[in-house]
């Protein structure tokens, strides 16, 4: 069932236009990185450390070099000689080894690269690189790391595993308010380590042309321009001599934002050998070494009055960052946008702090389709509110309703420093309650409880923070987080549209065409959208953090309006009217007060090349770099209904409803598709996915038999709906949606299961809620009674 709030009749925006990219993907005509084969291309395989923590005393290349087809073996020392041993991490406060130098800091860390004539020959050669290790005791738990008994990073001046302390809000005032509160809750809530696991893993082909001195890198990149700049800064190759092409991408979810060792080693190999070098990681390499998500241990405290009015929120987090601080957070925000942790509620005061630690695990932390730590924050507050509701004896919806930020409070300054743009949380929630029949479900639950059946209803009324972002606050490597659009309208009224973002399945080729078509009255089918080529696309910061529509979408609308302004001049010339008398109405230019006298944008386009106004430059194109004045704050109310089998611990998600408010919807079908995909991932996080390590630091989820991705078989049926509260500052009122279902849904599932188990006195279980975890909790609770 889908219910979409009716949008005003529009030419293009609001239409469920079929995705222009789909014929290519459905027919197997996409062009992904691994489809690209260049003449004389060699292949790179990486050697990985079997130990999570070990000194490397010797690397013997002899046998590998003698292996058939092997052309080169590259080690960390070789990269040090080329001044590429270490790279700055994206937010610039740490350095990361490209290949292990002296010490391996996590299991599967890249230790050497072998380049050979085929993928198989490279893998065989990698097996023959003889590395001598002296194992060291690993530190896997951040709470152990905190003790500083074993210092992991020899290279850093400060002899501590503590990376940073970050805090926001008022500590004393919050502590005092909590101390004075009638009712308080305190719970340690873990957002476990999980992994985006895109179906296409990461990879590149580096092609250094010795004759032109130009380096072309085809790479699975969510941010091709940033990667070009990073490559230039690190290698010293002038930026005009670097061409990054990000071809079709088979899912990114934040996994394809960082720079990985494979990219650097393939590039060095291409420079040395003078031929293209391809690196494509295996599933195991993707799961064990590339950007993971979360690993936030959050101590959540909420104070409230007896009547259930919240008084204060305090969240103290221990963050496990792995071996390097490689999270691509903006400089001012080492814990990303964790300050959104006050959620949809009007807290009089709040305080949040994060202490991050190194461990012997792969670095990363902010990937998986909504982070910048928003998913963690949304999970913490939504679980916290549920635990509080239970303690107060209130229905969790009632507690939320009486603490929502009210519609009239927007723009709302949050106690942790953000200004929420707009929202109508009550309206969104009421719609969700009506659509799912909340009261009837509660009645059904009461009857079932009498019979001892475990039925649960879980609610999440989350607020997201996306669209990074205002350049004054957000940057990557110092580059402000604006984005860009370039539009060229051809003489016949079709055109080409390019942005600095790079879609990975989101449907940009369709959505961008719809925005431009709406602004210019053109046919979206005749607007070609192209992204991912740094030689042609305007500079942008890429696609992640649900920023494409809030930022590049704004740039598209404003570039279109620049074109419209120029077109108005041409239209005036065409209609022999004064420019002031020409108005844009009903998607064409008309002369005010002269009915029937009008020209279409298509006609203007032709004139722009054949008959421009005398004082007007020929042609019809524009570029806009859009630095948004604020972030956008989509919200949603999600409701899960589950039945728990007390004998097996199995949870059946009987119903799930997502009512989203992402502002103005450009293509309802694409938005719904985005929500379906995200809910499926949220379901996986809640019930299936965790990257675990044994006591020796062995990674226990290295493939898809041990790290589960839901199939159609276990995925529940999704029901969706929406409300529309436009963003007041966005040129077309859109807010972004790609990450809402991931930020919004895990806690709805968990809240539902905890609701089912609440009669047994179970307050909280950490994700994933596997059968054995749920069963063990039930068994434990039954023993107590």
């Amino acid at each position: 069932m889908t219910t979409t709030e009716k949008l005003p009749d529009r030419h293009s925006i609001g239409q469920s236009m079929k995705r222009k990219e789909d014929p290519r993907f459905i027919r197997g005509k996409g062009r992904y990185l691994d489809d690209i084969v260049l003449p004389h291309m060699l292949y790179l395989a990486l050697v990985h450390s079997p130990y999570p923590h070990a000194r490397i005393t010797k690397i013997d290349k002899t046998a590998a070099l003698a292996s058939p087809g092997v052309k080169a073996v590259i080690t960390g020392e070789d990269l040090v000689a080329a001044k590429l041993g270490w790279l700055p991490t994206f937010h610039g406060f740490d350095n990361q080894m490209v290949l292990a130098i002296g010490k391996a800091l996590y299991q599967f860390q890249e230790v050497a690269g072998v380049v050979a004539t085929s993928r198989e020959a490279a893998a065989d050669g990698a097996e023959l690189v003889d590395v001598t290790y002296e194992p060291l005791p690993p530190v896997i738990d951040p709470y152990q790391s905190k003790l500083d008994k074993i210092i992991l990073r020899d290279d850093r001046e400060a002899k501590t595993n503590h990376i940073y302390h970050w805090e926001v809000g008022e500590r004393e005032k919050t502590d005092a308010a909590i101390a004075k509160s009638d009712v308080t809750i305190k719970e340690r809530i873990l957002s476990p380590r999980c992994h985006p696991a895109p179906l296409e893993p990461c990879g590149c082909i580096s092609d250094m042309n010795g004759a032109t001195g130009r380096l072309t890198i085809y790479m699975t990149s969510q941010a091709p321009h940033v990667h070009r700049t990073a490559f230039s800064l690190v290698t010293g190759i002038p930026e005009d001599k670097i061409h990054v092409i990000s071809p079709d991408i088979g899912g990114g979810f934040g996994n394809k934002v960082p720079v990985y060792p494979g990219y650097v080693v393939a590039t060095v190999a291409s420079v040395i050998l003078g031929v293209p070098v391809k690196w494509v990681e295996s599933r195991t390499e993707n799961l064990t070494t590339t950007g993971f998500a979360r690993d936030y241990h959050m101590d959540v405290e909420i104070g409230a009055t007896k009547a259930g009015k919240v008084t204060a929120l305090k969240v103290s987090t221990t963050a496990d960052h792995g071996a390097f601080d490689a999270a691509a957070d903006p400089r001012k925000y080492p814990a990303g946008m964790f300050g959104i942790v006050t959620g949809s509620y009007d807290f009089p005061t709040a305080f949040a702090e994060v202490d991050a630690y190194f461990t012997n695990k792969a670095p990363g932390g902010i990937a998986y389709r909504c982070s910048f730590r928003v998913t963690e924050a949304a999970f913490a507050i939504e679980r916290g509110m549920d635990i509080l509701a239970r303690k107060l004896g209130l229905d969790p919806v009632q507690l939320r309703m009486q603490n929502f930020i009210k519609k009239e409070q927007f723009p709302y300054p949050s106690p942790l420093g953000f200004t929420y743009d707009s929202g109508d949380y009550e309206k969104t929630t009421k719609k969700a309650l009506d659509l799912i029949g909340y009261d009837a479900l509660r009645k059904e639950q009461a009857e079932k409880r009498k019979r001892g059946e475990l039925m649960g209803i879980g609610v999440s009324t989350f607020t997201e923070i996306v669209g990074a972002g205002p350049g004054k606050h957000f940057d990557i490597l110092g580059i402000k987080m604006f984005d860009s659009a370039e539009i060229r309208i051809h003489p016949t009224g079709s055109g080409i549209v390019r942005t600095g973002t790079r879609g990975q399945g989101q449907g940009h080729e369709t959505t961008w065409a719809q925005i431009v078509a709406e602004e210019l009255g053109l046919d979206p089918q005749e607007l070609l959208v192209e992204e991912g080529d740094t030689d042609t696309a305007p500079y942008g910061l890429g696609t992640y953090a649900s920023r494409s529509t809030p930022v590049a979408g704004g740039a598209l609308a404003l570039a279109s309006r620049k074109i419209r302004e120029k077109a108005r001049k041409i239209a005036a010339h065409m209609m022999e009217a004064s420019e002031d008398d020409v108005e844009w109405k009903d998607y064409k230019f008309s002369v005010k007060g002269v009915p029937g006298k009008s020209v279409t944008m298509k006609e203007v386009a032709f004139a722009a090349y054949t008959n421009p106004a005398p004082d007007t430059e020929p042609g019809l194109e524009a570029t806009y770099y859009y630095d948004p004045p604020n972030l956008t704050f989509p919200n949603g109310t999600y409701i899960a209904v589950v039945d728990v089998d007390a004998d097996t611990g199995a949870v059946k998600v009987r119903r799930f409803l997502a009512v989203d408010d992402c502002g103005v919807v450009i293509n309802p079908m694409i938005v719904e598709g985005q929500i379906h995909g995200g809910l499926t991932e949220g379901f996986a996080m809640a019930f299936m996915q965790e990257i675990k390590f044994d006591e020796g630091g062995n990674h226990l989820n290295t493939n898809f038999t041990d790290y589960l991705v839901p199939t159609a078989l276990e995925t529940p049926h999704w029901e969706t709906g929406n409300t529309v509260t436009p963003s007041p500052h966005h040129p077309i009122g859109a807010k972004g949606v790609g990450e809402s279902p991931n930020a919004g849904s895990p806690q709805a599932f968990v809240n539902a299961v905890m609701d089912a188990l609440s009669p047994m006195g179970i307050t909280h279980l950490d994700m994933p809620l596997t059968r054995d975890k749920v069963w063990s909790a039930i068994q434990g609770a039954q023993k107590k009674t």
Binding site: P50, Y51, Q107, D694, G696, G697, T702, N703, D706
Partner: protein, 152 residues
């Protein structure tokens, strides 16, 4: 991943015969299941290449084996370390010999292993059984070879 096992073999040979056998690195290596090749380095050490199949990990592992006999001829420590396929295995086995009244010898063994890398991560669920098989078969082979010698 740390694993531990123990077992016992009753060998139809005198304690002195068994002691002499387990002090010979070449003979010890020959008892490893799925041995491909071995190379005795000195009186107490031997390198061996063994075929290994743990779940989807299949290939040859190279092991360095060191014998550490204790004075008195009752106890032998065996250190086996090595690996392959991005995996590392450190195995420590201890064998205690007791002479029985019927002229046979009881060999009590204890083994512990720490396993890291691909084998531990991919083969986790079958690793315990597989490693147990390797070590118990090794001592079984000690018995079989000595039984054969006795019979022959």
């Amino acid at each position: 991943m740390n694993l531990e096992w123990n077992g016992q073999e009753r060998i139809p040979a005198s304690k002195a015969t068994v002691w002499a056998f387990i002090n010979d690195p070449g003979k010890v290596a020959s008892c490893l299941p799925d041995l491909i090749s071995s190379n005795v380095k000195d009186a107490h050490s031997v390198d061996a290449t063994v075929k290994v199949a743990v779940g989807p990990v299949r290939g040859s592992f190279k092991f360095a084996i060191t014998l550490e006999p204790s004075a008195g001829g009752n106890h032998m420590d065996l250190k086996i370390s090595g690996g392959g396929f991005g995996s590392v295995v450190d195995l420590l086995a201890g064998a205690d010999l007791t002479e029985n009244a019927d002229g046979t010898t009881t060999l009590d063994w204890k083994g512990s292993a720490s396993v890291g890398g691909t084998v531990a991560t991919i083969g986790g669920r079958v690793l315990d059984a597989q490693a147990h098989r390797v070590i118990s078969t090794t001592f079984e082979n000690v018995k079989n070879q000595l039984s054969g010698a006795a019979a022959g």
